[in-house]
């Protein structure tokens, strides 16, 4: 992906190819995020299309105070919220533990040693192998956890940026991130044959 500033210049100049590049890069992540915020795939697709229209029409007014990516996700978040109205404002209380309590002894210490993933010299940590597994794992998270994990860990937004996109407090965001990451780790662990 080329630098924001250059891409922004091309977008403002009405460069069609620059726009297609932007869509190619963000269409799927935006669809995934929208899908977790609204009741159906059809509505999610509308929200994403609506976001692109907002981008085309608003690019003149975009001041570049945030990154282009954060701006895109903020537009998306706003549009999804305006049609979604299904997002509960509280953090659901499911899966309170980062790790299954059965993994600890009665003193709260690990009952069995943990495997060191980094010590493995084989290609078990190859990203292309784990992509499909992690995508499926993401789909198993609660919608709110998925939103936060996607924006923080897939898209690399900061905690403040994610707060603005999703309109949630830092505290709630961190709880959702913690539960989401913990669950992804557990799924990776069990897929690797342990746990």
């Amino acid at each position: 992906m080329e630098a924001d500033a250059e891409l922004l210049g091309r977008l403002r100049a009405g460069d069609e190819e620059a726009f297609v590049m932007l869509v190619a890069r963000y269409q799927q992540p935006m669809l995934r995020l929208a899908r977790s915020m609204v009741p159906s795939q059809a509505v999610a697709e509308e929200v994403v299309q609506d976001t692109w229209m907002g981008v085309v029409r608003g690019i003149e007014r975009f001041e570049g105070r945030s990154s282009l990516k954060t701006w895109l996700f903020r537009i998306l978040g706003n549009r999804a919220r305006s049609v979604g109205a299904r997002e509960p404002r509280h953090v659901p209380m499911e899966s309170l533990h980062a790790v299954d309590p059965a993994r600890f002894d009665r003193n709260g210490q690990w009952a069995d040693p943990l495997e060191r993933w980094v010590d493995e010299s084989d290609d078990r940590l190859d990203a292309t192998i784990w992509s499909p597994i992690l995508k499926a794992a993401l789909d198993s998270l609660s919608p709110q956890q998925r939103q936060v994990v996607m924006l923080r860990d897939m898209e690399g937004l900061s905690s403040a940026e994610v707060g603005a996109v999703l309109d949630i407090s830092q505290g709630n965001q961190r709880i959702l991130l913690h539960r989401g990451r913990s669950r992804l780790r557990a799924i990776l662990e069990s897929t690797m044959g342990k746990g």
Partner: protein, 84 residues
């Protein structure tokens, strides 16, 4: 066996602090307790490493390519939006 001081944390508590730790959101005291625990506990060090790898792998998920049809559709929309 380690003799637990009153304010030491155990593994089951440590795993719940990992996200706050990585976000720099722990109080100075909790951060110290967490790091002390980590130094003494190879399992929790391994756990933190696993979480970091999980984050890294999540960040390297390959996005699907745009289908040719989706590309055509969006270009068509783009031209319409620009001309309106």
């Amino acid at each position: 066996m380690l003799s637990l001081r009153r304010r030491d944390i155990v593994c089951q508590q440590a795993v719940e602090l990992v996200t706050d730790y990585l976000d720099g959101a722990l109080s100075r005291r909790d951060r110290r307790r967490f790091e002390n625990h980590l130094r003494a506990c190879p399992n929790c060090s391994a756990y933190l490493e696993q979480i970091k790898i999980t984050i890294e792998l999540t960040g390297s998920i390959q996005p699907e390519d745009l289908t040719p049809q989706a590309r055509t559709d969006i270009v068509e929309l783009y031209r319409r939006w620009r001309s309106e």
